[in-house]
Every structure is written in C-alpha cells, then in structure tokens.
Point group: C2
Chain length 408, copies 2
C-alpha cells in the first residue's frame, strides 16, 4: 500500500515566486517527490519577504516545504545538461517538469522531448503571449481594485492576498495530474500552458461578472456588503468587529431569530415592498437591515453578542489580526504542527488541508536547505559516482548546501 496519496510520482520544479512553487508544494504535500532545481545563489524568490534578521526568506521556506533541493550552475553548459538529464530521468511516473521560466533553450519542450519522448511539461506564464505579469498587475486589469473598499471613495484598493497566484498554483498541480493520467492511458506526454492572466479572466466569466456586464448591468462598489444577499461588518459595544452573513434562507432565519428582529424586518418589507426571504431583496434592503443590526450590536459586548449568535447557529466571523488568528484559531487544529526550519527555528507549519481517509495525515515537513539534496539526487537519479560528483562540485557545476548560496 502506498504511504502517500501520490507516492511514486516525481516532478522537477524550475520556478520562482508563488504560483509554480505552490503548485509544486501541493504535489509534494500529496506525497510526490518534488525536486526544486535552482541555480547557484538560489532563485529569484530566494530572498522574498518576509525575511528573518539574517535575510532568510520565510516566504521561500513556506512555499518549498516537503521538496528536495538541487543546485546546479545553470550558467554553464554542463549544469544545464545535468538539469535536462534530471528533468527527463526515466521512470513511468517521472518525466514531469513544472516551470514558470520561458520554455526556451534547455527548458524548451522540444529539446526535452529529444531526451524523453513522453515528457510532460507545465509552463506557467504571465499572460498568454508569455509577457510579464504578476498577481498585482493582473488584479488591476480585472476590476477588483475599483470594486473594493469604502463605498464613498474612488480610490483603487489593491489586494494583499495574491489570490490569482494561489488559484493558478492549484490549477497547475491539477494540470500536471491530468496530463499524467492521460499519459498513463495513452503513453503520450505533452506541453501544458497556463497563464496567470487567463486564470483571472476565466474566473471573471465563471463568477458571472462578464455576462452581467455584457447585459448592461453595472456592478457598483458596495463597501463591506456581501453582494446579492445580506452580509456586512458590525461593531460591538466594546469595539470588536464581526462579519455577519445571511446568504442562505437558513442563515437569514437564524439571524432573524438570534436578534429577535422579525417585527423590524416585517416593517422593512412593508415599507420597501420586498420579501426578505428572497436573497436579492435582502440585498436591496441592506441598509435598513444593517441599521437594525447596528443598534443591536452597539448595545452588547462581543462576548454577549456572539453567545447569542452561536446559540442560534448564525454564520459570522470575527475580524482578527494574524496574531489573534494564531492565538485563537490555530490551537487544536491537527493540520498544524511545530516544525524546526533549518536556519530559522521553530514555528507552526501547515500540512495538507486535504484529509484522505485511506492514508494517515502526515505532519508538515520543513523546506530543504538550498542544495541539500544535490548529491543525493545526482547519485540516485543521474547515476553519478561519488568521484564524479566530487569533480563536478570542485568545478562549480553542482553545489551542495555549503556552496549553494554563494554569490549572494
């Protein structure tokens, strides 16, 4: 029986930043052998913030958990030859490359196919023409910064969470799994492309924004109101904030019961000729509804208010800082365990959110040290002898953990 859900699969990752490394890490946490390949000095994301006092990237550690790290000097022909040999190494569940580098030279699909005919490659791009785009420039193009933030403002509001990167990273992992399934049935490898911008544009279609706009319905800026039903932020007497949602009929009924606001809602229905059991009418009457809830919240402490909400099963969430999240939401969650990350120290680290009943849940593993597995992988997968490895190392073509960070 396999010990992990993807036991046996091997993916070489030549990538940087969020989307591609996240896709690789997701496969690694699913149990694939994911080998991150970097050049001497580390990738473009090797110092990405947040960093520690000595400039070790917590971001890099977070996105490279459970992988192996191999460092070749990719500015030399010999280093690139080794990289191609690693990417195309034999094995029915190997021969898979995940990259967000331009598919040219040693990373061209055609060149790799000469070494392994059934190679699979997934290339992440900024836009579909391969142009430069990052999460922050993609999000500006799809309209959200103009729809986010205070209703009375005309400022644009950037998202802090790189949402498009996250979605694209998961989609990349999905694309690799689908391509591997196809290969296992047909023997055929392929080059799969995925553009960050396309992921965002497609989502705008999926969520109905494009159809809405093409029909001449223009979405406004609604501040913290949930669109199309009822939801908003509220402040309790002691200054705590919470988001309260009445999206489904059941959620709305719970909220009305909890706040004993049935009469007030009937008054709004009569006055505005609406039926608040309809979600759209709750959106139309959102300001009137919110003012009733405002008054209720302002008269109660957070503890009092949320006790009532919980008793009635209301759907709500507390606005809290990352610090409060760590203190109050993480404890007891079996997905988290304390991991000792080399060069950083101990902190809470997440394993896979997917919980497979057939396989015991694995605790989180640290990220490797840059170059930690160069020798191991070179001997295991490229068949190098110790002497051969030593020679390449002395020539600066491969680098282990003690030399991988040079030039930085």
């Amino acid at each position: 029986m396999p010990t992990h859900i993807l036991s046996g699969m091997r993916v070489i990752e030549a990538a940087a930043f969020v989307a591609a490394p996240l896709g690789g890490m997701t496969l690694a946490q699913l149990g694939a052998d994911v080998i991150r390949l970097d050049t001497v000095g580390g990738g473009l994301d090797f110092r990405r913030w947040p960093v520690t006092e000595d400039n070790t990237s917590l971001f890099w550690c977070g996105l490279n958990k459970s992988k192996r790290s191999v460092v070749f000097n990719l500015s030399t022909p010999e280093g690139r030859e080794l990289a191609m040999a690693l990417i195309t190494a034999p094995g029915p569940e190997a021969g898979m490359l995940l990259t967000n580098f331009p598919p040219r030279g040693w990373l061209s699909y055609e060149a790799l196919c000469e070494k392994r005919a059934d190679q699979i490659q997934l290339t992440l791009q900024g836009d579909r023409q391969g142009g430069s785009a990052v999460d922050y420039t993609v999000n500006t193009r799809v309209g959200f910064p103009m729809l986010t933030g205070p209703q009375d403002s005309d400022e644009v509001v950037n998202y802090v969470l790189p949402a498009w990167d996250l979605v694209t990273g998961k989609m990349a992992a999905l694309g690799l799994l689908a391509a591997e399934r196809h290969r296992s049935r047909t023997g055929q490898g392929q080059h799969v492309k995925l553009a960050l911008e396309d992921m965002a544009l497609a989502t705008m279609g999926h969520l109905g924004y494009i159809a809405e706009s093409q029909r001449g319905q223009r979405r406004g800026r609604h501040g913290n109101y949930l669109f199309g039903a009822f939801g908003r932020d509220f402040k309790t007497a002691d200054g705590q904030r919470l988001m309260v949602v009445g999206l489904t009929g059941k959620q709305w009924q719970s909220l009305c019961d909890a706040l004993e606001m049935g009469d007030a809602m009937q008054a709004i229905e009569r006055q505005q000729h609406l039926n608040l059991r309809r979600e759209g009418d709750r959106f139309r009457a959102r300001e009137a509804i919110a003012s009733v809830i405002d008054a209720w919240m302002a008269a109660r402490s957070f503890a009092e208010a949320t006790q009532v909400l919980d008793r009635h099963g209301v759907c709500w969430g507390k606005y809290q800082s990352v610090e409060e999240m760590i203190e109050t939401t993480l404890p007891g969650n079996p997905m988290f365990s304390t991991v000792d990350q080399p060069g950083v120290g101990a902190y809470l680290s997440p394993s896979l959110p997917l919980d497979f009943s057939a396989i015991p849940r694995q605790p989180a593993q640290p990220a490797p040290v840059l170059g930690q597995h160069t020798e191991q992988v070179a001997m295991e997968l490229l068949g190098l002898s110790g002497a051969q490895y030593g020679r390449l190392h002395d020539q600066g073509i491969v680098a282990g953990p003690e030399t991988a960070q040079q030039n930085r």
Copy 2:
C-alpha cells in the same frame, strides 16, 4: 485517443455556491462527465446574484458550464434512492461524489460504500468541525481585512473576490483526481475532507505570515504598496491609474531605465544608506521611490507613459473596470467564445485556462437547463425504461426541464 484530457471519468456533484461547483466545473471543462444533482426547485445557489431581470442566475450559469443537470425530488425516499444509485453507478472511472452538504443520511460515506465498496467522496466543509463558514467569514479570521486599504485608516476592508472559495474549489478537484489515481492503483476508495477555513489557514502558513508573526515581526498596513519589494499605483496626467512593479532585479532595472531615474535612485541610496538592487531595500525606500515616479507620471498622459514603459519591458497593469476589461483585454483571447446560454442569451464565456498540447482546446459550453439531463441520465446510468421514467416523473420523484423549477 481520448477527445478530452479526463475523458471517461464521471463525477456526481451534489453542491451549491462557489467552491464545490467550481471544482466540478473545472473537472467538466477538463472533459470529465460531471453530473450536477439537484432537488426539485434547484439548489441553494439557483438564484444567486448576479441575476437577469427574470431572476435567472448568471452566477449559476457561470459555475455549472459543461455539466449535465439531473433533478430528483430529494425530499422523497425514492428520490434519495435514485440519487444513491446514481452516485454509486458502476464503471471503473465512476463512483465519485463531490459535495458540500453534510455527509449524513443518503450522503454518508458509509451508506454509499454499502452500494459501491470503492466509492470516492470528497466533502467540502466550512470549518474542520463541519461548522458554518463562508468565504467572507473565513477571510475576516485570517487578517486580510485589517491589512487592506488606505494606510491611515483603521477600517476593515472586505475582499469582493471570494479567493478562498476559488482556491478551495481547485483543491477539491485536485483531491478527487489524486484519490482516483490512488484507487486505480490500489482498488481502494475513500472519503476525502477539505475545510474552507483550513485552506485559508494553511495558506497563511505557506505565504510566511504565521512564521513572521511567531517570530515577533508584525506586518503593517501598507496601502497599495507591494510588500517586500517595490510596487504601487500611480496616476497619469490624464487621470488614468496603473500599477507598476519592480519585484525582480530585472523588473527594477527596466523601471529605472524607462524613467531614467538612475541618478535619483542613487541619491536615495546615499541618503538612506540602502542598496536598491536589494528588493528589501526597495521596500524600505518605497516612499522616496514613489515620489520620483509620481512626478514622472503626473507629467505624462497614460498613452505617453505606457509607451515608454512598454519599450523598456516594465511590468505594469492598468486599473480598469470590468467593462474596460471586456472591451480591451478579452478580444483575441482564444479562451473566450460567445456562448448562447439558454434562458439568458449570448455572452462571452471562458473555456479552460489550461492549454494541453495533446488535445485541441475546446470552446466553452453553456450550463445546462435545470433538469435537462434527468431522463437521459436515468435511462443511461440507472437503466430505467421510458415507461419507468414516465411513472417516476408523474409521481414527482424525478423532474425534467419543464418541471424542475417548480416551487420557485
């Protein structure tokens, strides 16, 4: 040769809202036969906004593209029996359920396994205990509303994009593919669980927020600045806005070249004792850098400015509305085609962002009409005769497109 990348796979979806239907639609666009199962009257998301004048949900149409729609009366024992038979129907690549309903009664994994021993089920939950949570309440708990929006404000800012739903939906599709791969190798089915809140909490670890906070580094509110390198919004002389990014060394150099701001940057370096080739130092000096760029942008029209930026390969994005995106960004993109959605009309609809070289890209397909495939599926997969179907239909246990929307 298969015509789609997931040809042969069949998934039954019993779900509502964003995450689970998006996961199902992703598999459907990959070519799996995804059958959305609803009760008479449609699911909880059947009227989710945006809607047309006659209350047809553009949201529902967007998230159910390429699926088949089957409607059984799930409030009757016979309807639930039919549902269980459909979920557990034979076939080596069938027997897969995607749901965000509580795994109880006819949706309990144990009950389904009695009918099909190797059943796969993926259950999406709000939080890991099965409690109520939606994207908007999860996002409050992980800290982003306090880190988003104007620096000088202490208001919370909700995200409009349901980012956690999107990531969770893709992760659900990934979980199903991984479980199916495991079953194809071991014969073993399983119940996979995934909580929306866990997806968000794990991501906070992946991106380094948890490690950063546990080390005592407190992330501030940085407005529209990109964290840890250089990036911000700027306004041109004619009032257009654009996001400009200098994340990598190459992007930064392009920006310095384009704006001919090398001397100004050297002055900042001398004054603040920084080295702007280091990304962290660009973040430290962000306000000084931005004021140089502010002046440059304010002296140029959008057309003038972006011509220069493009000539130097600067990474930038225009802040545009959904309307502008449709007008300027969608044309020519082969992912989009005009689809005639029954009950709505024609609009631009996206196919799969993944482009597989082994399979021709398929144009987008419309969502089904509710109940459109009830009869077809009942005869094809449940082996009902026309007479048997007719009897069940007359008894109100199954519903085709003409009766599926009753009670609404």
